[in-house]
């Protein structure tokens, strides 16, 4: 089946003219037609545009012109502005917004020949760990519990639609963004791979802003190599993003074949979370054993401020969000609710346009930045952030990469963890420290829990050393030989 191919296989098949880009795109559009009404992974499907892009790809292939992603059908998280295609950020407040410009990352993918199938669902403004906060409805995880097959599980978040679409074979790969784990956690929950690169590696220009010092665009795919191919296209210096790093983009794909012989892999004992399921601890130990068998050395390493990462994040991220989201005032674009006067218009527009989680975070951010509380909350959090980053700097003086679980649990059911915001926040305990420090991290599917649900391991690397991350993740992928597939996927009767 064309929808089961990896990006690397599809690229080779297209170049050898075994099938056309149109046939490949049509197969994915048919899968979306069949499964999206149930999964709700896409907010907007751009079928006609996708077919036109596929025809352009076929014409290029016929002329012998190939780019890295010619004819490869992808999903784009609906947080990336796409010229002429509605971009909602999963929010009512942006529901009428059609950007007149293309984000740098999506423009890079189009430059390299990609086909865009549509815009993937997400938590509102990327604020969430379950995709339950989207104004466009929840996304269903295509995996099912063995014991409780009727339970509808969440795909994780915030990039839940991206991860679910790739897992269910509705797209070969997808873009995501990761502010506190929004690529790695859904990748782990959906049994696919996803990388949050180093801060500055992928441009944020044209990505709807959540917390600018923590937002990282990155790719999802079903294999480590496919993620490397996508990141190679997405990455690169962009003068339009003042925090974009002017550093060369290495050959990430080649790094996947490097192996891990001689590498020192750090094991942070602080990631042994209280109440973590035994399956996850066992998988972590297995991952370390695989790396040792492949020639790496594993050493215990302290990351003493890990436990403070989440609380730090929940000051800094809402503070930045309250500032970034101030622009949604109902005046020049987006939703508007009329009011008695201007202030009333603002307040009604923002109450109607933002969902409860976004409103909560804006208010927390407003409070921690307000006069009299700035030092106690925001300034203190920035200092703890420095300590979290120092932990990683110290660790990387001794090791080449770190291995941890990606999440403290497998995918949970819709409705679980919803009664208390803090309970939902705890999902990101292993992923958030990397956003604070800006270091790259990748989730790679490594096994199943007792209930048949996928679990990921997280590989953490030095800043701008995604190559080692890919080398370690690919070694785990080879050893794990993860071949399980979700129950709901293209070609399966649902």
């Amino acid at each position: 089946m064309l929808t089961d191919l990896t990006i690397a296989e599809a690229r080779d098949g297209l170049r050898a003219r075994k099938f056309t880009a149109r046939a490949l795109t049509e197969a994915h559009l048919a899968a979306i037609d069949a499964l999206n009404p149930r999964l709700n992974a896409f907010i907007t499907v751009t079928a006609e545009r996708a077919l036109a892009q596929a025809d352009t790809a076929d014409a290029a292939l016929a002329r012998g012109e190939v780019a890295p992603l010619t004819g490869i059908p992808l999903a784009v998280k609906d947080l990336f502005c796409t010229e002429g295609v509605r971009t909602t950020a999963g929010s009512r407040i942006l529901s009428p917004f059609v950007p007149p410009y293309e984000s740098t990352v999506s423009a890079n993918l189009l430059r390299d020949g990609a086909v865009f199938l549509g815009k993937a669902n997400l938590d509102e403004f990327a604020m969430g760990s379950s995709n339950m906060t989207s104004a466009f409805g929840a996304v269903e995880n295509p995996w099912k519990r063995r014991q409780d097959a009727s339970a509808v599980l969440v795909p994780g978040g915030s990039s839940g639609g991206s991860a679910a679409s790739v897992a269910a074979r509705l797209a070969m790969g997808a873009t995501g963004t990761d502010t506190g784990g929004s690529i790695r956690q859904p990748a782990s929950f959906c049994g696919i791979a996803g990388i949050k690169p180093t801060y500055g590696r992928c441009s944020r220009w044209g990505v709807v802003a959540f917390a600018s010092s923590l937002d990282h665009p990155g790719p999802f795919a079903r294999t480590v190599q496919d993620c490397a191919i996508l990141l190679g296209s997405m990455a690169g210096y962009d003068p339009k993003d003042s925090t974009s790093a002017d550093v060369p983009v290495p050959d990430f794909e080649a790094a996947c074949a490097r192996g891990v012989k001689g590498l020192r892999i750090g094991v942070p004992r602080e990631y042994r979370a209280e109440g973590m399921p035994a399956d996850i601890e066992a998988l972590w130990q297995r991952g370390l054993a695989w790396l040792r068998e492949a020639g790496a050395e594993t050493v215990e390493i302290p990351l003493p401020h890990t436990k403070y990462g989440l609380a730090t994040y929940y000051i800094i991220a809402p503070a930045e969000a309250s500032s970034n989201l101030a622009r949604y005032d109902g005046v020049r674009f987006g939703l508007r609710e009329d009011g008695e006067d201007l202030r009333d218009l603002y307040e009604r527009t923002r109450a109607a346009g933002f969902g409860p989680e976004v409103r909560r975070r804006i208010m927390i951010g407003t409070y921690v930045l307000s006069a009299g509380y700035y030092d106690a909350y925001y300034l203190r959090a920035q200092k703890v952030r420095a300590l979290v980053q120092r932990d990683f700097t110290d660790a990387f003086a001794k090791v080449d990469a770190l291995l941890t679980p990606t999440t403290p649990s497998a995918a949970f059911a819709q409705g679980e963890n919803m009664d208390d915001p803090v309970k939902m926040y705890l999902n990101d305990v292993f992923t958030v420290p990397l956003n604070l420090a800006g270091v790259p991290g990748m989730s790679v599917p490594a096994g199943l829990d007792a209930n048949g649900l996928p679990l990921g391991l997280q590989v953490i690397g030095k800043p701008f050393d995604e190559e080692t991350v890919f080398a370690v993740a690919a070694a785990i992928e080879r050893a794990a030989d993860f071949s399980a597939r979700p129950q709901i996927r293209a070609g399966e009767p649902s």
Partner: protein, 95 residues
């Protein structure tokens, strides 16, 4: 520290978000839950630590001070609720 209803009202007002009276108790409880949990940062010794504003400390790039973009008012105004010629027509924002 615990937020009282008046403080929650004041924060909502600063954030320009309308909060109905019946939403207030739940919102107050949620915000207090989050802020109470955040208090754990007070355990951390941050003496002499410089605050970190971003993951990468970089000097901002400089470029020539010239116009590099623009000249397409229709695109700029494409999402305007109303326009008047090449301008946004908006509710009165200055009294």
């Amino acid at each position: 520290m615990s937020l009282d209803p008046a403080t929650v009202r004041r924060i909502a007002s600063l954030a320009r978000i309308r909060v109905a009276d019946d939403e207030l108790p739940r919102l107050q409880a949620e915000l207090n839950g989050i802020l109470g949990w955040i208090e754990q940062l007070n355990e951390v010794n941050v003496d002499g630590v410089e605050p970190l504003t971003g993951a990468v400390q970089m000097a901002l790039a400089m470029r020539e001070d010239v116009v590099t973009d623009g000249g397409y008012p229709d695109k700029v105004l494409a999402n305007a609720p109303e326009r008047a010629g090449d301008f946004y027509a908006v509710p009165k924002v200055v009294e």
